[in-house]
């Protein structure tokens, strides 16, 4: 009976759109995206935790993080290694640029095919594109079943996985054979923190481009010596894609226009918290039939 699983976790580096503070605002009241810190997409951390729990339970299992993005996105792979992942692959190439979700999932599925895992665990949704589409599309491209909105993996054996899904008004428990794609909800268990020993071990892990940028650095020297410190870096050619399905060309959706959301100022009447002023307001609302 198989008791080791090969797991791929999909993780995206995203700008932190959740806390758009004053420093990230332009004088026109719009968001300056460059000023937002780049973070590990929150629900991908939940996905990573789900994968690490499988590894805890079935020693010998491996967790590989797959991320598509610029060189800088190697940061999320390192972060994942500090938390317990075994290693990762950064898919990076100009040819991927401008991808919509379909072209993104196509590229990811090509890389996943090469990694040949027993399962792929993704986050439900990325906080920048906000579509929650990539997980299901990767599943379709591979011809695998998908289980979305997963909150907890309840059971796993070589035949399949039992998963609790969190839906809007309730829960559902489903059983799916392997291989499959699972997308994990933010309501699932939080990810374990970085581990001090793992930080010591993996802090010099680099992608080749990073090592080449500073060939004389200690990190580059260490990476050259130790296999486990090498984070794989794959360009488009490494995953044998159909070039017409990549990047901008492979994207059926096109962004026609982007507008920044600006607060419309209204003439508002300002009242103080006195019985008189509040009384006047209520009387006015009753007279205009807004109330009553």
């Amino acid at each position: 009976m198989k008791k080791e699983f090969k797991i791929v976790v999909l993780a995206k580096q995203v700008p932190d759109t959740r806390n758009v503070g004053k420093d990230a605002m332009t004088p026109e009241g719009t968001v300056n995206r460059a000023a937002l810190p780049a973070i590990f997409n929150p629900e991908d951390l939940n996905a990573l935790e789900a994968a690490l729990r499988i590894k805890d339970k079935y020693p010998g299992s491996t967790v590989t993080v797959l991320s598509m993005g610029p060189h800088r996105a190697a940061e999320v792979i390192r972060d994942a290694m500090f938390r317990g992942a075994d290693g990762g692959v950064l898919l990076t190439d100009r040819k991927f640029a401008g991808a919509d979700t379909l072209a993104t999932s196509y590229a990811l599925s090509c890389a996943a095919r090469k990694l040949a895992p027993d399962m792929i665990i993704a986050g439900r949704q990325a906080i920048d594109g906000d579509t929650a589409q990539v997980g299901s599309q990767v599943a379709e491209k591979l011809g695998w079943p998908q289980v979305t909105y997963a909150e907890e993996i309840l059971d796993l054996d070589e035949k399949g996985m039992t998963i609790k899904r969190r839906l809007e008004n309730g829960i559902e428990v489903v059983q799916s054979p392997l291989p499959l794609v699972v997308t994990v909800n933010g309501s699932a268990a939080d990810c374990r923190p970085q581990n001090a020993r793992r930080i010591m071990k993996y802090k010099y892990a680099l992608i080749p481009t990073e090592a080449a940028a500073e060939p004389a650095s200690l990190a580059a020297e260490m990476t050259a010596k130790h296999d486990y410190l090498r984070i794989a870096e794959w360009g488009a050619d490494a995953v044998d894609p159909d070039p017409s399905q990549l990047g901008l060309e492979g994207s059926p959706t096109k962004v026609k226009k982007i507008e920044n959301v600006v607060f419309q100022l209204k003439e508002s009447k300002c009242l103080q918290c006195t019985d008189d002023e509040i009384n006047t307001l209520i009387v006015e609302l009753l007279e205009t039939h807004t109330l009553g």
Partner: protein, 339 residues
Amino acid sequence: MNNLFVYIETEGGKVADVSLELLTKGRELADTLGCKLEAVLIGDGVAHLVPELAQYGADKVWLAEGKELSPYRTLPHAAILCGLIEQEKPQICLMGATPVGRDLGPRVSSAMHSGLTADCTSLVIGDHKDAKTGKEYDQLLYQIRPAFGGNIIATIINPDCRPQMATVREGVMKKEFAAKPGAGEVVKVDWQKMTSEADFVVKIIERHIEERKINIKNAGIIVAGGYGMGSRENFKLCFDLAETLGGEVGASRAAVDAGFTEHARQIGQTGVTVRPKLYIACGISGQIQHTAGMEDSAMIIAINNDPEAPINRIADYTIIGDVNEVIPRMIKAYHKNSK
């Protein structure tokens, strides 16, 4: 051919509101395009819902019924919808941005290799000229959606692939009987031909879905409480005010996350969209993700102890003060003045 599809979601023998909202919108778009509005109804014992779909404008209903088709599972529903899309070649296919629609839509869009725009807040028909090739397109679907945590609004088009697919969040579009009901012509779908054994490998072994008890979407008056209400105890003030004024209680995400009230009351980008005639925001700062769900309210009153709170900028009235003092005074003033 080249008509407009709406995927109909059902739960507990009823059509989901969002599907009726999409039929209403779909009717308007189909009239503009001069095409038919067709509903895709997949489930078990759902034929009795056809007249309702016709009332909302469906010219035709593609009906696939079978025990295996309910409750919803991704693979069989996706296979049937894909089968119908291949057969009928609709130009547009719409579904709710619900857990079901957001599970089904991407699967179908990937299989059909057609783009999908998530969580649209507005859909309009417009022309387009490609800046690079100069190619002109007539009557595309402009799919307008917030992204980037609600900080930007993008207009997305799908010039070359069909169908143009979009999901739309519940409550964003209005739901209305069609001015002239559709014919609701039923076409039974031979779905067994469109599915295979492999589409049924995922089994549902347990399911607890509660019927939604709270429905703030259609309330005329909403008293919404935020993190500034301070505690679950204090949040009751919102219920007191809502009861006095004959309204419903809503909440910000921070209030829901803090456990002041249930998620069904959350208003905003990841909650419900509302447009009541009166919205009273109590201790809500007015972050963009919240205002996205309420800014179309006819009148907004903000109660906040911070004169600089962003909510004040979209409010018709701001009352500067502590919610614990303002709300009881409002209740008192209402009792005094209403008959």
